[in-house]
């Protein structure tokens, strides 16, 4: 009886071990590998509007590739698996997540970082491990020849601000003074410097420059002081959607009737909904592309429709850049025949121009950053009118036919 129980236990144990054997199918198979794409983002908190869509675009890409049978890189076929951790906007959590992604999940590609302070915490972990990071980290210290694996997947304040303020000045010569409001961290400080330079280069005097703590709800105290300076234009610059919408709403409540801009104006639809149609009226967004409109490619429109059906939320233009990055880097992996990040990064640098679901991308930056690691794509300036985000025109950006990069 005892022996019978022992045999049963051994049998179950053997079945358990066999079931755990990776890739076991009961027949001889070719090596199917997994390419793990990681990310650490603000998936909660005021910046969740930025982070969630980026993470979901990684998932969409993985679904699309896996549905087609995987990615053939060299002799192997890779299925894509995504891993995402929430850093809530905290640099210390971002660093902990990056360590986990690199050492536990063994990722080689980290797609879609946002909030520069978290990027500064992650790069010392990812760079030595030769992990390619593509991000929306807006900050000076993100790109450089000492960080060959750090790419910026979208235009930063250094590119947007000059273009946006040139447009504002050309079309609104009556704007002579401005105030800007930014969060009190790396993203905010670097953006404040870039916006200040751009405004002053276009003859607009900066009369107020305010930094606030992310998550602040009652902005009346510092907005009162800003309004006392009577600026012609107020820019909420790199403020996250939740905070920025409150600022816009409270500016309206305090009686501000001047021009409003959002240099990092992502998610126009969400922002207009949060701040209210009347409060948002006239607000300029730098990321104002209507993903369901005729200026967007059929692939972008399909992604926007799919996202709305799945999540009942609008997809924002900056989200789609993550999908585009995966298209670019997997294209390079296939061409290079390897997932090795050095070989792939060098090839991406060599290829320079790409067509993606989001439109054309160009890799630039040698003059400004010492290395070509800044992706530039088209940016549509839009304005909130009658509760909708109305496209105005494409901003003239470096790399897309303009000198300077």
């Amino acid at each position: 009886m005892k022996e019978k129980r022992m045999m049963t236990a051994v049998l179950f144990f053997a079945m358990f071990v066999i079931a755990l054997l990776p890739g076991y199918t009961g027949k001889a198979v070719a090596a199917e590998k997994t390419l793990v794409i990681g990310t650490t983002l603000p998936l909660s908190g005021p910046a969740a509007g930025w982070g969630l869509g980026l993470s979901r675009m990684n998932d969409f890409f993985a679904e699309d590739i896996n549905k087609k049978g995987g990615l053939k890189i060299g002799k192997d076929v890779y299925k894509i698996k995504t891993v995402a951790y929430d850093h809530k906007g905290s640099p210390s959590e971002a660093a902990a997540n990056a360590t986990k992604l690199v050492s536990q999940d063994k990722i080689k590609y980290l797609i879609g970082g946002v909030i520069a302070a978290t990027g500064m915490a992650e790069l010392p972990i990812t760079q030595p491990a030769k992990v390619v990071t593509t991000s929306l980290w807006w900050g000076k210290g993100i790109l450089g020849s000492d960080k060959p694996f750090s790419f910026r997947q979208t235009i930063s304040q250094m590119e947007i601000a000059p273009a946006m303020y040139a447009w504002i000045k050309k079309n609104n010569p009556n704007i002579k003074t401005m105030a800007q409001i930014n969060p009190n961290d790396t993203s905010g400080w670097d953006t404040a410097a870039a916006v200040r330079d751009a405004a002053e280069a276009n003859g607009i005097q900066v009369v107020a420059q305010e930094f606030f703590e992310r998550g602040t709800k009652d902005m009346y105290p510092f907005l009162t002081r800003i309004l006392a300076k009577k600026p012609d234009l107020i820019d909420v610059a790199v403020t996250a959607p939740g905070d920025g919408a409150l600022i816009v709403k409270q500016l309206y409540e305090l009686g501000y009737k001047g021009a409003k801009a959002w240099t990092c104006g992502t998610n126009p639809v969400e922002i207009i909904k949060l701040s209210g149609n009347e409060a948002a009226e006239g607000l300029w967004f730098a990321y104002g592309q209507d993903l369901n409109g005729t200026n967007s490619s059929p692939e972008t429109r399909a992604l926007a429709k799919r996202y709305m059906e799945k999540f009942n939320e609008p997809l924002a233009p900056h989200h789609v850049t993550s999908y585009a990055m995966l298209e670019i880097f997997t294209q390079a992996m296939v061409k290079a025949g390897t997932t090795d990040t050095t070989a792939v990064s060098n090839l991406v640098e060599k290829m320079k121009k790409f067509n993606t679901s989001f439109g054309p991308f160009v890799l630039v930056g040698k003059k400004k950053y010492g290395i070509d690691r800044q992706f530039v794509h088209r940016m549509m300036l839009s304005q909130a009118r009658g509760g909708k985000s109305v496209e105005i025109e494409w901003l003239p950006l470096p790399g897309l036919g303009l000198p300077g990069y």
Binding site: G49, L52, F211, E213, T224, P241, L246, E253, G276
Partner: protein
């Protein structure tokens, strides 16, 4: 500096201070009666906001109904938490520490449940009182004015309840000396449950009041709890009038400070002033030694 700016600063301070005071009142009440540092208090505020979001935004109820509903729902929830989580811990060793840890755990669970049920993004609550009142350059929205009035009414009602009713007398007796109150026939466990419920109801009411002004998100609790603790410590742990005064003091420091200094400087000044006050009066402005 223009005089209108100073008046605007004063009005901003009243609004800010009242917001802080309403959240802190409940926290102070709970600590005063039960000695529990309720880290989940911010989540009661958050849930009150969501009551407002659903009743006004989704089901079309009016503003006043949503406030009453938030008071009742969050109050009952508070009583449930007291009975099921905190009361069993009163007989355990190191009660204060275990209650604190339980409160932190409760806060995390409530926040994550809110994320699962309501989503991660900020939600707008439609404004019931639209329009702005301009008094010679000093502006206030009708929404904020109504919030200030209701907030003051709630504080007065709480004071009336505590000072003029049998139940209120019982609560104050338990706060002073639990054992002596029990000897006088006060049912301490019933009073504890009621106090916890009232404390949470106040936070829920504050959340419902502020929701149309500031929007709601599952992370609202974490953002307000630090300020609530500052107010309670400044005013005096367990002191209701202290919480009111502490809230207003903090509100005015921040509001007037922001007229002259940048936000990071105001934060530093606020903390320095609080430290100075606590050095002079360690028990807080109106706390007992």
């Amino acid at each position: 500096m223009e005089i209108t700016l100073l008046f605007q600063g004063g009005l901003n301070g009243v609004m800010l201070g009242l917001n802080y005071a309403l959240i802190a009142l409940g926290l102070s009440l709970i600590f005063g009666i039960m000695g529990i540092v309720n880290f989940a208090h911010g989540e009661m505020y958050m849930l009150g906001g969501y009551v407002s979001y659903f009743l006004i935004g989704r089901f079309g109820f009016d503003f006043f109904t949503s406030i009453i509903a938030a008071i009742v729902i969050i109050g009952l929830l508070g009583m449930l938490f007291e009975k099921s989580i905190f009361r069993p811990l009163t007989t355990r060793p190191r009660e204060a520490l275990t209650s604190l840890i339980a409160a932190v755990g409760l806060a995390w669970v409530l926040q994550m449940l809110a994320v699962i049920c309501f989503g991660d993004l900020d939600r707008n609550v439609p404004s019931t009182f639209k329009g702005i009142i301009n008094m010679g350059g000093v502006v206030i929205t009708k929404e904020r004015l109504v919030t200030i009035i209701i907030g003051i009414v709630l504080v007065l009602l709480l004071n009336l309840f505590l000072l003029r009713t049998r139940m209120g007398n019982a609560i104050r007796a338990v706060a002073q000396d639990k054992e002596a109150a029990a000897l006088q026939g006060v049912q301490v466990s019933r009073i504890s449950a009621l106090s916890f419920g009232i404390g949470c109801a106040l936070a829920g009411a504050a959340g419902a009041l502020m929701a149309p002004i500031f929007s709601v998100s599952p992370f609202l609790g974490g953002e307000v709890i630090l300020k609530a603790f500052l107010v309670v410590i400044l005013g005096g742990m367990g002191s209701i009038p202290g919480a009111m005064l502490g809230g207003l003091v903090l509100g005015f420091i921040e509001s007037f400070g922001s007229l002259f200094f940048a936000v990071p400087t105001v934060s530093a000044i606020t903390f320095v002033l609080i430290i100075v006050i606590l050095i002079i009066r360690p028990q807080g402005l109106l706390g007992h030694e």
